[in-house]
Symmetry: C2
Subunit: 243 residues, 2 copies
């Protein structure tokens, strides 16, 4: 009996890990993120207690995990993506460790590579990019991200949850010295059937993607063109390129 912090993957229910699925199927309590696929939630046993974290503050979730863990139940905390990548899984682990409740961490497929991959964009590519910087659309403590160091970092930039703030983010990157013709893609609902991808120059991408739905992830850099060429080649041959 323990609390399992489990990554559900980027959206497509087939992208949970084999171990994660096994843990969900055997749990007493399932506490899941709102964005986790309903198909995965439905994998919990019929008599399991299922709780959506929607409308719960982080502190309330921590308390639930500790309380059910102490009660000797097998608890799965099913989180979108990977628990330890912009997922606040570290905070949940801390709360459990401090309360003396045993826990495990089962990594998941993070959106950072899987969502670009669902648009056939490799975040690294030989001769094109050997470095990736992953940042949230807000800097620490809700401030603006440090654009200068993002631009200086070269390689691919992946911005988490950046759609609403994209006009500001794109302007900030260009003002910090990013070439305005740098290619960017916004991938909305990545890995899901309703996925949409919009591609353009960084100084035009906010306008082009204004109507896309969230969640969305923004990829900036020359790998975007590798992805566009791959999609074109696949489409030209009517090749269904993504499962």
């Amino acid at each position: 009996v323990t609390v399992h912090l489990v990554g559900a993957g980027p959206g497509d229910p087939g992208l949970i890990t084999a171990r994660g699925l096994e843990l969900v199927r055997g749990c007493d309590v399932l506490i899941h993120d709102a964005l986790v696929s309903p198909e995965l939630v439905a994998e919990a046993p019929d008599d399991a207690l299922v709780i959506s974290r929607e409308r719960l503050r982080q502190e309330a979730i921590d308390e639930l995990l500790v309380a059910y863990g102490r009660a000797g139940l097998d608890v799965v905390r099913l989180k979108g993506g990977d628990p330890f990548v912009f997922g606040r899984g570290g905070e949940e682990a801390q709360a459990l460790a401090e309360a003396g409740v045993s826990f495990t961490v089962t990594p998941g497929v993070s959106s950072i590579a899987a969502v670009p991959a669902s648009a056939l964009i490799p975040i690294t590519h030989r001769g094109v990019s050997d470095r990736v910087t992953i940042a949230s659309a807000r800097g620490a403590d809700g401030e603006e991200p440090d654009y200068a160091s993002l631009v200086d970092g070269r390689g691919t930039i992946v911005l988490f949850m950046g759609l609403e703030r994209l006009p500001v983010l794109a302007k900030g990157l260009v003002a910090a010295g990013l070439d305005p013709s740098t290619p960017a893609s916004v991938v909305s609902n990545g890995t899901l059937p309703e996925q949409e991808t919009v591609t353009g120059r960084i100084d035009e991408i906010a306008e082009l993607s204004a109507d896309l739905a969230t969640p969305a992830l923004v990829v900036v850099g020359d790998v975007v063109e590798v992805g566009a060429r791959l999609r074109d080649a696949a489409m030209a041959r009517e090749v269904p390129a993504v499962p």
Copy 2:
């Protein structure tokens, strides 16, 4: 009939995705990286053709994928980690697209977060790090990485496959301005039973980890201390913290 580029995950066979496992179980041909777990290779059907990529050049693999794909066989190309994160999956996809062979991409759990997580290190943590830069131990074209921009990038630095070059890498980071007391961890054989983690200051970490086995991943930044505290708290309560 198509070629599936599939991520096997970071080492632990339980960390392949549900879809990836299904594809392996149904394939005609399995071409796998040497580092992929033998348990996963054994999941291929008894009559499947199983080929280790060991000793094959990238061009030879591309040719095999195209040839078996054209022959109308279901081919799984099982790659360590994620195919599109330092995995040359983009090149294989290009070869297939150019040859007119249909393909799919099934992302995997990348080592970049899962290996640190297996030492309870979250690569992002609220109030500690909201940015991650992932770099290979060599820069583009085999040169030294650009240390200055790595250090300026702040946040967490994850160095792929960095163990052999760690003395040079650590010196390069400090010479570029990284505080010599910055904490670093080397995680060897992450997610596997033989996993070992060594933690210390960046200016001491190469010496401390000289005896570790490859593959190993290097994490640099204050999240290393979050992980160390989590491991201590878990050990103090004899909590088995990782599955």
